[in-house]
């Protein structure tokens, strides 16, 4: 037994150093999602998905979105890695959509960093994206959210006061939608 402990100790020490490098950024302290403002979508389907009460032509904040967990994808039509990841993100959306129910919902929106509405529409049409995408041409939302490259992902958990506590940040693709979804659920504290 002593020999076992003696052998495993250095391995565990090395692992404790290595593991953080393989993890996505996890906020050390409670961090609230900034109050970014978005235009209400013209699409009735999107408004229903987001649970918005506002009308087209008005704006809403991310706190208005009716979701227990909200995932924001930072993407760009021009980013080859976002293009590569589009299929995975679509699969993740379908998983979220199928999973969500009135008692607990996980929703997804995308912000097109430095993209015009035309460019965001082209990305949506090219990849058949079903979740709401919004242009962020001046990158003000990207900057407010602390974006670090595209694709990037920021997830938050809705609190009782409607604020959203960031539970996950990630730069780069997740590649495995099911695993990523489980990770989000775990970090949200969802009890399966």
């Amino acid at each position: 037994m002593k020999r076992l402990v003696f052998l495993l100790l250095p391995i565990l020490s090395v692992l404790s150093l290595v593991l953080p490098a393989f993890s996505a950024d996890a906020p050390a302290e409670k961090e609230t999602l900034p109050q970014i403002s978005l235009p209400v979508p013209d699409s009735e389907e999107y408004r229903a998905y987001l649970g918005l009460k506002q009308a087209p032509g008005e704006t809403f904040t991310v706190n208005d979105i009716d979701a227990d967990v909200l995932l924001i994808e930072l993407f760009s039509m021009y980013c080859p890695f976002c293009q590569e990841e589009a299929e995975n993100v679509n699969a993740l959306f379908e998983t979220m959509y199928d999973f969500s129910k009135p008692e607990f919902s996980v929703k997804l929106i995308g912000l097109g960093a430095n993209n015009s509405a035309f460019e965001v529409d082209h990305f949506r049409n090219t990849y058949g994206v079903r979740f709401p995408l919004f242009p962020d041409q001046d990158m003000s939302m990207y900057n407010a959210l602390g974006g670090k490259g595209t694709p990037g992902f920021i997830a938050c958990k809705k609190e009782a006061d409607s604020s959203c506590t960031i539970i996950h940040r990630q730069s780069g693709g997740f590649h495995q939608p099911d695993e990523f979804f489980k990770e989000l659920l775990n970090k949200s504290g969802y009890n399966q």
């Binding site: 490098a21 393989f22 080859p80 035309f118 082209h122 730069s171």
Partner: protein, 199 residues
């Protein structure tokens, strides 16, 4: 002892599993940022209505491309970008890579040109996925084609320029961007639509 070795092996495999959802590609680390540059640093030598200067350049695919070979056949859009492995350039052509439908609609080919050499362009464009359009090297004589169009900058790079050439080989429109800013997809589409006007 075998059991100990097995446990140790399993523990060493752990990071791969734990990090499966977070293997972010470090693509930004490959890009060199030259900082903010003088927006435009050359004098254009062409204008709408001029005959487009002809050229033959080597393609990353290994063959050569001659502009005049498209005459009486297809419209041509030339996209000059300043340099490989720089921030704005590196996300301009990947956008065009998913915009083929606009070029097809207007019966246009896209030719991407930089003053970089073929090995550099090969490595750079590999990062963009499989490009549907030709990428040409204006490396030697250095920037000669860019110079003939008046888009060679004083530092040996080219402007960020879009040249729209009709089927007769005539310049239809020219868009020189601020080198620090990527031209929008709308600019590309407007140039393509303009090619069909007056036909």
């Amino acid at each position: 002892m075998k059991r100990i070795a097995l446990i140790a092996l399993l523990l060493l495999m752990l990071p791969a599993g734990a990090g499966a959802t977070a293997t972010a590609k470090s693509f930004t680390s490959l890009i060199y940022d030259p900082g903010k540059l003088k927006p435009i640093d050359s004098t254009l030598k062409i204008a709408p209505g001029d005959k487009a200067p002809d050229f033959t350049l080597r393609s990353v695919k290994g063959d050569t491309v001659t502009l005049s070979s498209y005459r009486h056949k297809q419209n041509v859009v030339i996209s000059f970008v300043p340099a490989a492995w720089t921030p704005v350039c590196s996300d301009q052509w990947p956008g065009y890579n998913i915009a083929k439908t606009f070029f097809t609609k207007h019966d246009a080919v896209l030719l991407g040109i930089t003053v970089d050499n073929i090995p550099t362009l090969h490595a750079w464009t590999q990062q963009m996925g499989e490009l549907w359009f030709d990428v040409l090297s204006d490396f030697w004589p250095h920037g000669a084609v860019a110079e003939s169009y008046g888009v060679l900058r004083s530092d040996g790079t080219s402007e960020r320029a879009l040249i729209f050439i009709d089927r007769e080989g005539m310049i239809n429109s020219v868009h020189i961007s601020d080198i620090n800013i990527r031209p929008s997809l709308e600019t590309v589409v407007a140039g393509l639509e303009n090619l069909d006007k007056g036909r």
